[in-house]
């Protein structure tokens, strides 16, 4: 256990924290965009699993992980359109539909994988995305090699954070976007097309969550398996609550959960005597503990979870 605090260990933890936090961050941002328009989507796990499959298939077939990411994004949007139609147009209950996605999307993914690769095939492997070092920044001593030698998707995810913050707080489009989640009636009277805005939110949500899923199979591991998402969608969901529906808050929450994940992987290697299952529990238990300590303040969009009917008074 003396090796716990060496430089090498710390740097590996930092490196893998950022890697582990990336899919969480992408998906948490997806949820943030969805909830800001008043749509609580608990189907993130489902969207991710379909994104993971689409990303894997395309990167396997073309050998190009970037096309895989693109396919994951499209797949995510496609799946989330089911949710969008049912919750926005039909005003069905959002949690129920999120749950429906969680059942539906993994079933389809498993089916497609099985039909294409056969039931008992050896694990197919796709190409992983290569890391790209950013020319000047990577030479910064200490943090340079850790933070600026990652896959492009990592940069994309972290750049989305300031973009999101500026969009929601400094632009007119962002403010009217938020108004849909706060008080859709008022937004409608100001000439904002609430229904269209909600559909846009669903597209963004599907896009980012699909990318988050595709990240798992194009940047993280090079195979697809059922249950690859492993509840990350729900951890991302808690990250949004924990981060109080802001871009920076979500980032901090995801880094915390990513750190837990990185730590448990490392601990598994260091301490072989302790049952590995106990370490694997760490991310889930930490998420719970973080939420329990924070409590749920009455924050977040006012109209989240509520269906919007134009005709209703």
């Amino acid at each position: 256990m003396e090796s716990l605090f060496t430089w090498n260990f710390a740097s590996e933890i930092v490196l893998s924290t950022f890697r582990m936090a990336t899919p969480l961050l992408l998906v948490a941002l997806a949820e943030l965009y969805s909830e800001r328009a008043g749509l609580v989507n608990i189907g993130l796990d489902g969207i991710m699993s379909f994104g993971a499959l689409a990303g894997f298939m395309i990167s396997y077939l073309t050998g190009n992980p970037f096309l895989g990411i693109l396919a994951g994004a499209l797949g995510g949007v496609l799946v989330n359109m089911v949710y969008a139609f049912c919750t926005v147009t039909l005003c069905a209950e959002q949690t129920v539909y999120g749950m429906a996605l969680n059942i539906f999307a993994p079933a389809i993914s498993a089916f497609i994988y099985r039909v294409y690769f056969g039931v008992s095939s050896t694990l197919a492997q796709a190409t992983l995305m290569k890391t790209i070092a950013i020319p000047v920044l990577k030479d910064i001593p200490f943090i340079g090699p850790l933070l600026f030698n990652q896959t492009p998707m990592v940069y994309f995810a972290y750049l989305m954070v300031p973009f999101t913050a500026v969009f929601f707080n400094r632009t007119k489009a962002g403010l009217s976007y938020k108004s849909v989640g706060e008080y859709p009636k008022a937004a409608e009277t100001l000439g904002i097309n609430v229904v269209r805005q909600k559909y846009v939110a669903c597209i963004i949500c599907g896009l980012l969550a699909g990318i988050g899923g595709a990240y798992l199979t194009t940047c993280y591991v090079n195979t697809y398996s059922d249950g690859i998402v492993a509840g990350r969608g729900f951890i991302a969901l808690s990250a949004v609550i924990f981060g109080h529906w802001t871009g920076s808050g979500v980032l901090m929450a995801c880094l915390l959960f990513g750190f837990c994940d990185a730590l448990q992987l490392k601990l598994q290697i260091i301490s072989k005597d302790t049952p590995y299952q106990l370490f694997q529990m760490i991310p889930y238990v930490c998420t719970l503990a973080a939420l329990a300590i924070m409590g749920a303040k009455k924050a977040g969009p006012k109209a989240k979870g509520k269906p919007y009917l134009r005709e209703e008074r």
Binding site: C91, I103, F104
Partner: protein, 352 residues
């Protein structure tokens, strides 16, 4: 059709099932198999022989429990997605009681069932407590606890109660196993317990004042609070009972059917339960029927895969489609536009 009446509660799920099967048929045809043959194999697999009927009844038992678990909590307005974790904790407790207490016989079996329910109840109380006292989202908490329970079970079968080189627990001793309904059929008394509990829940929800209050909390928590109902207590209560139902189900599955814990135990039962409860419109008795329907699909799917080469995962898609169509259908008929149209039509008929 009467608006908000009971007919649409039956018609819509039926339409959903038919639509889902049509799409399933298209998928099967696209794979190059004959959908009619495939369904034939499916029916044969589920009802073809005494063994097959028994196999379906074995599969339906745990699904009734997780379905009732989801149903009971949602009646009180809390979404318990942790049925799987509670089911697992019940099973882990049952294996612990029967294998390491040194007890054998019916007493051990009864103790396993009782403590399994208690363990499930405790596991279900955690999201309830965090929801009521800390305001946390019960869905997230219960899902997280599923993963924790699955990992805990992994620890139990790989180390704590491991039997030899294979990662699985010791088996339940023969004397402590749950009895079978009739010789030659694998279905156990667990099925009877499941149906009795469904009936009991139905009675509680629809024929007692406490059940009425619990449903009122689920329909409108604010109004119930002003009415003087203790909303928090009902939510916590419903979570504990819901967890106990799942825990009992886990214990029954272990001492009645599986006898050992191993990798993959209870996988997907929790979400299946949620799907069943939703299709059943949260009616405990309908939950039993829908669970049976799911079990028929499951057992039939295996025969279908062998007979016509259609992978069993088609069934998963059909199930998912049923829930999507059923819930969308219910939402559709509740839309104001649709209601208005129906009202207009009724009015038109009267004027004629």
């Amino acid at each position: 059709m009467k608006l908000g009446g009971k007919s649409e509660n039956i018609i819509i799920p039926l339409i959903a099932v038919i639509l889902a099967f049509l799409i399933g048929g298209v998928i099967i045809a696209a794979l190059g198999s004959n959908p009619v043959d495939a369904v034939g194999y499916l029916v044969q697999g589920a009802f073809g022989s005494k063994t097959n009927i028994g196999a379906t009844l074995v599969k339906v038992t745990p699904l009734i429990f997780t379905g009732l678990c989801a149903c009971f909590a949602y009646r009180c307005g809390v979404f318990n997605l942790g049925g799987e974790g509670q089911f697992i904790m019940g099973a882990v407790t049952a294996v612990w009681v029967t294998v390491s207490w040194g007890l054998e016989g019916p007493l051990a079996c009864a103790a396993a069932l009782l403590l399994g329910a208690v363990a499930g109840g405790i596991w279900g109380a955690i999201p309830g407590i965090l929801k009521v006292f800390r305001g946390l989202n019960e869905m997230i908490v219960s899902i997280m606890l599923n993963y924790v329970a699955t990992l805990f079970m992994g620890w139990v079968y790989t180390e704590l109660l491991r039997d030899g080189s294979v990662p699985q627990t010791f088996p339940v001793p023969d004397a402590s196993k749950l009895g079978r309904l009739m010789p030659g059929m694998r279905a156990t008394w667990g099925l009877v317990i499941a149906v009795l509990i469904a009936a009991g829940i139905y009675y509680f929800l629809f024929n007692t004042s406490k059940g009425f209050q619990l449903r009122a909390v689920g329909l409108n928590a604010t109004a119930s609070r002003y009415q003087g109902f203790n909303v928090k207590r009902y939510m916590l209560f419903s979570f504990i009972v819901s967890g106990a139902i799942a825990g009992l189900g886990g214990a029954i599955e272990l001492v009645g059917t599986q006898f050992r814990l191993m990798s993959g135990f209870a996988l997907g039962f929790g979400f299946d339960g949620v799907a069943i409860a939703l299709i059943a419109q949260l009616n405990p008795l309908a939950t039993v029927l829908v669970a049976y329907f799911f079990a028929v699909l499951r057992t039939g799917a295996t025969t279908m895969q062998v007979g016509s080469g259609v992978p069993t995962s088609v069934i998963d898609i059909i199930q998912a489609l049923v829930i999507i169509f059923a819930v969308a259908g219910m939402a559709f008929v509740r839309l104001p536009g649709f209601k208005q149209r129906m009202l207009n039509r009724q009015r038109g008929k009267k004027e004629e």
